[in-house]
């Protein structure tokens, strides 16, 4: 009961502080909002890029060819061994006939008669039955290729390791750059909260000294400022989230229409998927920035 009344009092004082330090509050809320807005934009880019890379990764596979006259049982056994690997997401068997049909379609499109005259019913790719192996994590491609090569009956393994590595590297680079920018923005936000709370402390210097003298605990004195910082953080998170929510669908539609040629690649995450992660992260960041900023300031300025 006592704790609740102290908490209610602290909340009331915290809100009062927000109003009292109007301009500084606005500056802090503005900075946190700007920081989290940029964070949200980066999150849109990174999460959607990762999603697109992931989709692209699943189309980057390994082709496994077998020794001549190996027999269906041995091929099936190889398939089972590959499927048993954790990093493998899908294994598709492509028979020699299917390989020849696909090849004809890709290389000799429109020249079907010429091909029919040349090859008749013969299949020049008679020993080209294969497995197309897709991975859940493309960075595992090298290791998997080595494993498959070691299986009896495997003649050749063709991978696209460069494409795989390239996608992984781009993904990592975007992650690092956004992390660096976000860390800088967070530091700026904490600095500004520090200024706001410092102002609040100096405005209430007299009150703090009186509270100390009448026996207020450290927590009682600091709580309103901590709540002020947290409230600034929550408001600073709510504003950009509202704007980002409003923007997301429109950005996705705009990009989709503008770059319709790339519609096969530009596959965006659903609004709900993005915001189910972004909302808790932004709120936690806002609260965290407010809390750390206020605690840091109070440590230096308020001591019982």
């Amino acid at each position: 009961m006592k704790g609740i009344s102290v908490l209610l009092y602290s909340i009331k004082q915290g809100i009062k502080n927000l109003r009292h330090n109007g301009l500084f509050t606005l500056a802090s809320v503005g900075t946190i909002s700007a920081c989290l807005f940029l964070f949200g934009i980066f999150y849109f880019i990174v999460s959607n890029f990762q999603y697109m890379v992931k989709n692209a990764e699943t189309s980057v596979g390994i082709t496994v060819f077998f020794n001549e006259n190996i027999g269906d049982e041995a091929i099936a056994s190889i398939g089972d061994k590959i499927r048993a690997r954790g990093e493998v997401s899908e294994v598709i068997f492509v028979s020699a006939d299917e390989a020849w049909e696909k090849f004809k379609g890709e290389v000799f499109a429109g020249r079907e008669e010429e091909i029919a005259q040349t090859f008749g019913d013969d299949n020049p790719l008679v020993d080209s039955a294969s497995y197309e192996v897709y991975l859940s994590d493309v960075s595992e491609q090298g290791a998997l290729s080595e494993y498959i090569k070691s299986i009896d009956g495997v003649r050749e393994v063709k991978g696209s390791i460069d494409a795989a590595t390239g996608l992984t590297n781009v993904n990592k680079l975007i992650g690092y750059v956004s992390a660096a920018i976000i860390i800088i923005l967070l530091a700026v936000s904490i600095f500004l909260i520090n200024t706001t709370i410092s102002t609040g402390v100096s405005v209430r210097k007299e009150e703090i000294s009186i509270m100390r003298l009448v026996g207020a605990t450290d927590l009682f004195i600091k709580m309103p400022f901590i709540i002020e910082g947290i409230l600034i953080g929550i408001i600073g998170a709510a504003l950009p989230l509202a704007v980002l929510y409003f923007m997301y669908g429109r950005i996705v539609n705009f990009v989709g229409e503008r770059f319709s040629v790339l519609s096969g690649i530009l596959i965006f995450l659903e609004e709900g998927t993005v915001f189910s992660v972004l909302v808790p992260i932004c709120v936690c960041l806002g609260v965290g920035i407010g809390y750390i900023g206020s605690i840091w300031t109070l440590r230096r300025h308020v001591r019982v």
Binding site: E207, I210, V214, G215
Partner: protein, 235 residues
């Protein structure tokens, strides 16, 4: 046994500031429970430092302070808050919050120790009645006279029922009539059992009240008389 232990005991207390100034120099004194003590002396004699030491706002550079026989040197931060609840303080400049009315100023002391709203209302009303300010309960400090403001400060110092009341120049900003009224109030508070220590420059009130007078000079006790007077002390 505990009745014989002084409520405050200073044992060889020294306080030097970084600038090399010795504000208190090997000072020892005792104050018994229920005593009324004046501490007088010229500016720079160490009176204000003594108040700060008793409030544990600053630490002595030597010696120990005992409250009811227990050293306050090793109190932790949380214990310091509780220790201060035993001491009410009144300052020359009142230290009232001008953005709050009389009730809220006094209630602040109750709020910090977590008193329930119902008890707080009752206690504040009761203490304001004691200092004669019931009618001014909703007034802002800026609307009050100096004497009234000092009575609000006194009410705030007393509302938590401290064992000790420290008054640092309580009549410094008051006219003679209000000064006398304030001292009468402090005397009443003392008669109710609170130990009262008044630091003052006002010879009239000291001479009139015939209480124990400790004269300080250069951080030392120059004299300590049970029924002393300011006029007798020539320092």
């Amino acid at each position: 046994m505990s009745e014989n232990i002084p409520i405050i005991r200073l044992e060889n207390i020294s306080k030097s500031y970084q600038e090399g100034v010795d504000a208190i120099d090997n000072l020892s004194l005792e104050v018994d429970k229920g005593e009324f003590v004046f501490v007088v002396g010229p500016s720079g004699s160490g009176k204000s430092t003594l108040i700060k030491l008793l409030l544990k706002e600053i630490e002595p550079t030597g010696g120990q302070i005992f409250m009811r026989g227990k050293s306050i040197a090793s109190l932790r931060r949380r214990q310091i808050s509780k220790y201060r609840r035993e001491i009410g303080v009144v300052f020359q400049n009142f230290k009232l919050l001008n953005d709050r009315n009389v009730f809220e100023n006094v209630a602040l002391a109750q709020r910090v120790i977590g008193v329930s709203k119902w008890n707080m209302n009752r206690n504040v009303a009761s203490i304001l009645s004691l200092v004669g300010l019931t009618e001014k309960i909703l007034a802002n400090p800026s609307e009050l006279s100096g004497g009234e403001q000092q009575r609000v400060a006194l009410a705030r110092a007393l509302v938590n029922r401290p064992s000790i009341l420290l008054a640092d120049e309580p009549t410094g900003n008051l006219d003679p009539k209000n000064a006398r009224a304030m001292m009468e109030l402090l005397d009443d508070v003392n008669k109710l059992g609170t130990t009262v220590i008044v630091v003052t420059h006002n010879p009239d009130v000291v001479d009139e009240m015939k209480k124990r007078v400790i004269v300080m000079q250069n951080g030392k006790v120059l004299s300590d008389k049970v029924k002393g007077g300011y006029a007798y002390e020539r320092y």
